[in-house]
């Protein structure tokens, strides 16, 4: 299967990339790792007449800690993030980056592309929202930093302008007493999650100060619920509170029935993933080094 013919640009700098996008306002498509875009071009889902390949902007490929924040260049590959010591320090990053697809896809796919694609079932939107991450976006008009929850406005839709690129992702590192985990339910490794859950819990003196629960594959974008998070706050989080919170957040979800599963299967799976991710987040908040993969069903 061949993509339809397209004109190809390979800018050598960020400025050149932005000028190209501005010059072809709305008629040019950014290519990063191509692990979402190339399959779409081959299946001819959408029209792509002009491709701006940002894959050589090596200056956008880095993962480093500055103070309490992890800075990740938009072109950093999933595999690079998974292999970084920072993915062990903040294990949620490892859950996401190391659990996407397979080694082949992780070689090419980038964190910027994973966010910009805004797929409701994908891993970075859910995982990064759990972490409270922000996206640095650059256009000819300058730089703005927006929360991942504001960046993604609907299924496959971001608030990025046609001449705007995600250039960096900033992830606040959890302090002592805070833990987070992301777990997806997948049919096989090279398949998008059927559903997924990210949970972050901040403990002080054994009591939950702050909680975040984010669901993936549960609607047109990631799903959160203030009531569910309130159900954890102020408690010594245990199985009972997690089950209650899971009930509440899944109540706010509307997982679509599709080839991956019925709505009731997805709801049951989401409830169980919230509890499991909650327990892993708790263990990490207590300083335990736990890893664990996705669930296959």
């Amino acid at each position: 299967m061949y993509p339809a013919p397209f004109a190809y640009h390979r800018p050598a700098s960020l400025d050149e990339a932005l000028s190209l996008l501005a010059a072809h306002a709305g008629a040019a498509t950014v290519l990063a790792g191509g692990q979402s875009l190339i399959p779409m071009m081959k299946l001819r889902v959408g029209e792509f007449h002009r491709i701006v390949d940002i894959g050589r902007l090596h200056g956008l490929s880095y993962i480093e800690r500055r103070g309490d924040t992890v800075h990740i260049g938009a072109l950093t590959r999933h595999a690079q993030i998974a292999a970084s010591p920072l993915a062990r320090e903040f294990a949620l990053l490892g859950d996401v980056a190391g659990g996407i697809a397979d080694r082949q896809v992780r070689t090419m796919g980038t964190i910027g592309g994973g966010l910009a694609m805004a797929d409701a079932n994908a891993c970075w939107p859910c995982g990064l929202r759990t972490a409270g991450a922000r996206a640095v976006c650059t256009s000819p008009r300058g730089v703005r930093t927006i929360g991942v929850d504001e960046l993604i406005v609907d299924s496959y839709t971001t608030c990025l302008a046609s001449d705007e690129l995600i250039t960096e992702v900033q992830v606040p590192l959890p302090g002592a007493g805070t833990g987070a985990a992301y777990i997806a339910c997948k049919r096989s490794a090279p398949a998008y999650p059927t559903v997924a859950a990210g949970v972050l819990i901040a403990l002080e003196g054994g009591v939950c100060l702050r909680a975040r629960i984010v669901l993936g594959g549960a609607g047109s974008t990631t799903v959160v619920s203030a009531e569910a998070e309130a159900a954890l706050r102020g408690s010594a989080v245990g199985p009972e509170q997690l089950a209650k919170a899971a009930e509440l957040v899944v109540g706010a979800a509307s997982p679509p029935a599709d080839a991956r599963g019925s709505e009731s299967f997805k709801r049951a799976m989401l409830r169980s993933l919230v509890v499991e991710a909650g327990q892993r987040a708790l263990a990490r908040a207590r300083g335990e080094q736990t890893t664990g993969g996705h669930r296959y069903a």
């Binding site: 993509p3 013919p5 397209f6 004109a7 191509g34 080694r103 082949q104």
Partner: protein, 162 residues
Amino acid sequence: MPETIQPVFVEVVVNGYTYQREVEPRLLLVELLREELGLTGTHVGCDTSYCGACTVLLDGRPVKSCTVLAVQADGSAIETVEGLERDGELHPLQAAFSEHHALQCGYCTPGMLMACKSLLDENPAPGREAIRKGIAGNVCRCTGYQNILAAVEDAATKLRGA
């Protein structure tokens, strides 16, 4: 809208040999290898980024060559299954696949071998679980994988000893 699409000059080093071609931007890496360079060892299975039959190494890392444009590979070193054998000697992975019956129809084998090679390059002593994860992007319809796991373990031992 229609305009003449400019071909793009691409230089790749495949299994140690340098090739230069003018290609259409839409040419896939697997088509560059198979159709332009005549290296038909790399197979196309699903052509939808799923099965891993088309796996080659791009600067040492595994990729699905049906999901990479040739222009993305410009300037890179590529390893394909044709590069495994040296001076008429099978690569230890190839020998172990043969000994352990790790292939039946052989369709998945070129991609499987390249995925396994990159796994052992990264981790010379993987346990069974690491091997399973390492080949999670490669589908085999025939073997049931058990013999592949045994072959990779055996090849890893031999490669460490060599």
